[in-house]
């Protein structure tokens, strides 16, 4: 006679406790399986939603960037054309050029067919000590606008005629000079035709005069510090074609874009990117919170069900072994080794747990299919891996629940057990 025959008879005998044990595993496995599959379904569903949101946000960002580019393009570029030998840092620090452009170069640029240019303003800028007032100022020689060939532009700068000056706000305040007053500079008289508003820039300490007067005062005949080219437009919305075109027309020059405009464009792009990113982050945060809540609930439910199941198994198996201890003793008296007795009962535990967990996983899948949207379209691996884990865990716990009582029962002297009965 083989142990397998005894095992079959054992399973048939008093089936209620065995069925209860199987049912406990079944229900626990169904709950754990359903919660895991629903959780995986949530991941799958939210992943696809987030992916769609990401795509929409990226498209929106690209669209906004394009709009910003078009907007910036319509604003045009404000650039400063200067002698390429000039160290810009020194120019900004000293407010004085070491290397100059000439008016001929400015006129050449104006007369060119370069289509991106709109407004050209040659300037001469230099630090100057105003002896009559014992005051350091910056001389800003401006001509007004050079009219560009074949174009008419709305003037962007007031044209100063010789003999007139505009005073920066700080100069006028300190010297108590008002519009209409006359001032002496190097022995020449100039009429103050405008006191400029406070700007909080170096313009507040600048004395603006006609470019020719400035060149004469500073002894810079025909020389200018550079050319302001305002609102330059370019189809591509990029500065490089403008820089290249200017350099070709007047070699030996360099072009720099006013940083404020460039920063504004970069800032616009950054804000757009950050807005899109923030929106996604918010969604991800919200999703993580929901996921964490679901995960906690799932863990709690699975944990409680597993613990209840293990307790039930320990109770049922313990009771079963207590009822059957005389049979264990008889088997021992018949010379059946302890290992064989263990294997008989553990095989029973394994069969019950395996059957229960398989049924539980199938039921869990059915529950998940009924409750969720995409469980049916989940990849097979997503269903098989948790199910395999559940089955293995159920078998392991079932073996563990049977192992201790059967070990105790089989280790006792059969004579003592049979005497007790």
């Amino acid at each position: 006679m083989k142990l397998s025959r005894l095992l079959i008879a054992e399973l048939k005998y008093r089936p209620v406790p065995s069925m209860l044990a199987c049912l406990a595993v079944w229900i626990a496995a169904a709950c754990v399986s359903a919660s895991l599959i629903i959780l995986a379904d949530f991941d799958l569903q939210t992943d696809s939603e987030i992916h769609a949101l990401q795509e929409r946000a990226q498209a929106r960002m690209a669209s906004l960037e394009n709009e910003a580019r078009i907007f910036a393009k319509s604003l045009g570029f404000n650039i400063f054309v200067y002698n390429s030998k000039q160290d810009l840092g020194k120019f900004y620090t000293n407010d004085t050029s070491d290397h100059f452009l000439t008016m001929q170069q400015a006129n050449k640029l104006a007369e060119s067919d370069f289509e991106f240019l709109n407004h050209l303003l040659p300037i001469l800028r230099e630090k100057y000590f105003w002896k009559e007032q014992s005051m350091p100022v910056i001389i800003g020689g401006i001509q007004g606008e050079i009219y560009i060939k074949q174009q008419w532009q709305e003037p962007m700068e007031v044209e100063l005629i010789p003999g007139e000056v505009h005073l920066g706000h700080s100069i006028a305040s300190e010297l108590n000079i008002q519009q209409g007053d006359s001032v002496e500079i190097e022995g020449s008289s100039f009429t103050v035709t405008n006191v400029r508003q406070r700007l909080g820039t170096k313009d507040d300490i600048t004395l603006f005069m006609n470019l020719g007067d400035a060149q004469q005062l500073l002894d810079r005949p025909e020389q200018i510090s550079g050319i302001l080219a305002l609102s330059c437009n370019c189809e591509a919305g990029e500065i490089e074609p403008i820089r290249k075109g200017v350099k070709e027309i007047i070699p030996g020059t360099d072009v720099v874009e006013f940083t404020i405009r460039a920063q504004a464009r970069a800032q616009a792009r950054k804000v757009i990117a950050e807005t899109a990113s923030q929106e996604l982050d918010d969604i991800m945060t919200s999703r993580s919170q929901i996921r964490a809540t679901l995960s906690s609930l799932s863990l709690l439910l699975s944990g409680i069900m597993t613990i209840v199941c293990v307790f039930l198994l320990v109770f049922l198996y313990g009771g079963n072994v207590r009822e059957r201890k005389s049979e264990v003793a008889i088997l021992s008296a018949l010379g059946v080794e302890r290992a064989s007795i263990h294997s008989l009962f553990l095989a029973k535990a394994l069969i019950l747990a395996f059957t229960g967990s398989i049924c539980g996983c199938v039921m869990g899948l059915a529950i998940a299919l009924a409750l969720s949207n995409q469980a049916g379209s989940m990849p097979l691996g997503s269903l098989l891996i948790p199910s395999t884990g559940i089955i293995l865990t159920a078998c392991f716990l079932s073996l563990l629940a049977y192992w201790w009582p059967i070990r105790l029962a089989a280790s006792r002297d059969p004579g003592l057990v049979l005497n007790e009965n």
Binding site: L6, A9, G335, V336, E337, D413, N421
Partner: protein, 229 residues
């Protein structure tokens, strides 16, 4: 030729009040050859304890047991070297059949420790001899006490052990069934087997070849004097 040898067996139980109850003290027993050896005595004198120790169902506090020179506590399944069922058969007063197995399966349960294939050839023969041929598919609950004891004896004898130990084999039976059980054991002894049984039934003791009793925790040869005292 079978031998059963017990030397210096001591056994003490813990009583219900927690105090030790000495049952056997330095008990020596030596049996050899074939035949029936009966141990008689009053209930609680230690007969069953001695038999269970001899049958390796209960460990002694001290002393040794040897069957054919081997320690029966070392017997096990075939992998253990000496299969217990080939050396030793045990018959309980309360039969101790497995309730969910049929008569046939209960008898064959003694071969669980044998890894060999199939059923022993003498299974059918022994069930016929014991008058159980028509009860093979019945469960113990469907049998009379006498039939259950015969199943227990069939289970013990199936693998033709060297020694059969029977603890009050007729204790739960009526006279007729008791005689039948004794005749079965006698047949086994006549075929060369060694039977050690415990009984308080004088009829059973009369059928034994030798009789001992337990007095003052020790085993002594039985005599009418010792019985009366």
């Amino acid at each position: 030729m079978a031998t059963l040898e017990a030397n210096g067996i001591c056994k003490t139980y813990t009583g219900p009040d927690g105090k030790p109850v000495e049952v056997l003290k330095d008990v020596d027993l030596k049996l050899s050859g074939s035949g029936i050896h009966a141990i008689v005595g009053e209930s609680g004198c230690g007969k069953s304890t001695l038999l269970m120790i001899c049958g390796a169902l209960l460990g002694p506090d001290s002393g040794t047991i040897h069957i054919n020179g081997n320690d029966p506590f070392e017997f096990g399944d075939e992998d253990a070297g000496i299969p217990r069922v080939a050396m030793l058969g045990y018959v309980f007063q309360d039969f101790h059949l497995i309730p969910y197995l049929t008569v046939e399966e209960n008898i064959l349960a003694s071969t669980l420790s044998m890894n060999g294939p199939g059923e022993p050839a003498n299974c059918r023969e022994i069930t016929e001899r014991l008058g159980l041929g028509h009860r093979l598919k019945h469960r113990p609950g469907q049998l009379s006490a006498g039939e259950q004891q015969r199943v227990a004896i069939a289970r013990a004898l199936l693998c033709r052990p060297e020694v059969v130990i029977a603890d009050e084999p007729t204790g739960s039976l009526d006279m007729k069934n008791g005689r039948r059980i004794i005749s079965i054991l006698r047949e086994y002894a006549d075929e060369g087997g060694l039977v050690l049984l415990a009984t308080h039934n004088p009829v059973v003791a009369e059928n034994a070849d030798t009789v001992s009793t337990i007095e003052d925790l020790k085993i002594v040869p039985y005599s009418t004097t010792s019985q009366s005292s």
